[in-house]
Amino acid sequence: MDQELKRPSRARFSDDNADVALLERVASGDREALRDLYGTYYHPLLRFIYRITGRLDLAQEGVNDVMLVVWRSSRSFGRRSTVSTWIMGIAYRKALKLLAASRRWTSRVASDPIEDLVERSPLGAEHSDDDDLRDLLDEALRHLSAEHRAVVELTYFYGCSYEEIAVIAACPVNTVKTRMFHARAKLKTLLPALGKGPL
């Protein structure tokens, strides 16, 4: 097999041993440890919740909601997963709740058909480049369900295995694969440019 199929290093944003040590301190009421954990997780959580909810204000609120849960529940962390998987699971549930509580964003996006964007975009005329694809992908992802969007994001930005995603989303691994399958199919329809290019 060619070199491109060799396993790359995983895109993790934290070290689990360090996280466990911090979480133990948090469990004993150490606010400074919580601040350190906050610093590590703020941007990953902000992005993840933003990708699910589509609203920065909800994402900012969500990050603090998640960290409050971490503060209150740190003693119940049973090391059945990594700390990052545990925290992302809290964030996943929190983001879905925030999204359900505010569907205004969904209706705003739904009023802007992605098919129109595809037709207007240079990609439709087969003049794609990475920037165009990135921008269009941003729009296309918003047309997936929150659950499907989360699987794509967790796989390709956070580098999670399907087992980790199953833990985060609290669903069977086959559900993860099915969600990814449908997300891929929809993105393929919305983004014909994915099949183009030198890779």
Partner: protein
């Protein structure tokens, strides 16, 4: 080196995103890679998934300082009780312990009183469950009349089947009707049910499970 186990197309196709992000275990990775070598559909899909991963990775980072958020978290934490060693289960358990003892004592007293109370004699002929078909309930049917059915029509219908209302209407308009003063055979009863079921003035009819009123 042993050959990896052959993987079906759909399983390999499903796993391609995690081949691309490098998180498959060695066995799965080898099996998917082997399939990809011989499958043009998966090779094309693999290329698309690599594009997708690259595009997701290039999505703009959200440049928002964590300071404001941290200050807000501090304010919320100040309003939250501190984490303590016994706060979770230990604290609750301690708080509930007196109630648990009182409840256990109450149950023990109740059990003792029940033990002292003599049980009433049960006549075997009267003992039954909902599944037990007694001579009386076998001669009862439940009827719900259509909304527009008048009292005169109800009386006429019941006269046709030699029925008399013994209970009802319930909150949902159900009447218990005794057929032939309780002397109808099972076959006759079923015939009457069939007859009433076809009448437009009846919304529902069926053998009754209700017991006769005293």
């Amino acid at each position: 080196m042993t050959e990896p186990e052959a993987l079906g197309h759909s399983r390999a196709f499903d796993l391609l995103p995690w081949l691309v992000n490098g998180t498959l275990d060695a066995t799965e990775r080898d099996a998917v890679e082997q399939h990809v070598r011989t499958c043009i559909v998966c090779r094309r899909e693999l290329k698309e998934q690599r594009h997708l991963k690259a595009a997701v990775g290039k999505q703009p980072t959200i440049h928002v300082s964590a300071h404001a958020g941290l200050a807000d978290l501090d304010r919320r934490l100040d309003a939250t009780p501190p984490v303590s060693g016994t706060r979770e289960w230990g604290g609750w358990y301690s708080a509930l312990q007196p109630f648990a003892y009182a409840t256990a004592a109450g149950i023990a007293l109740l059990a003792f009183l029940l033990w002292l109370t003599p049980l009433p004699e049960i006549d075997a002929d009267q003992y039954g469950t909902l599944a037990t078909e007694t001579a009386e309930t076998a001669k009862l049917i439940d009827v719900v009349f259509a909304q527009q059915t008048t009292a005169a029509e109800m009386a006429a219908l019941l006269a046709e089947v030699d029925g008399e209302i013994v209970a009802g209407p319930s909150a949902v308009g159900r009447y218990s009707v005794r057929i032939a003063s309780g002397r109808a055979s099972d076959a006759q009863l079923l015939g009457i049910v069939d007859r009433l079921a076809t009448d437009s003035r009846v919304r529902f009819v069926g053998p009754s499970l209700a017991e006769l009123p005293p």
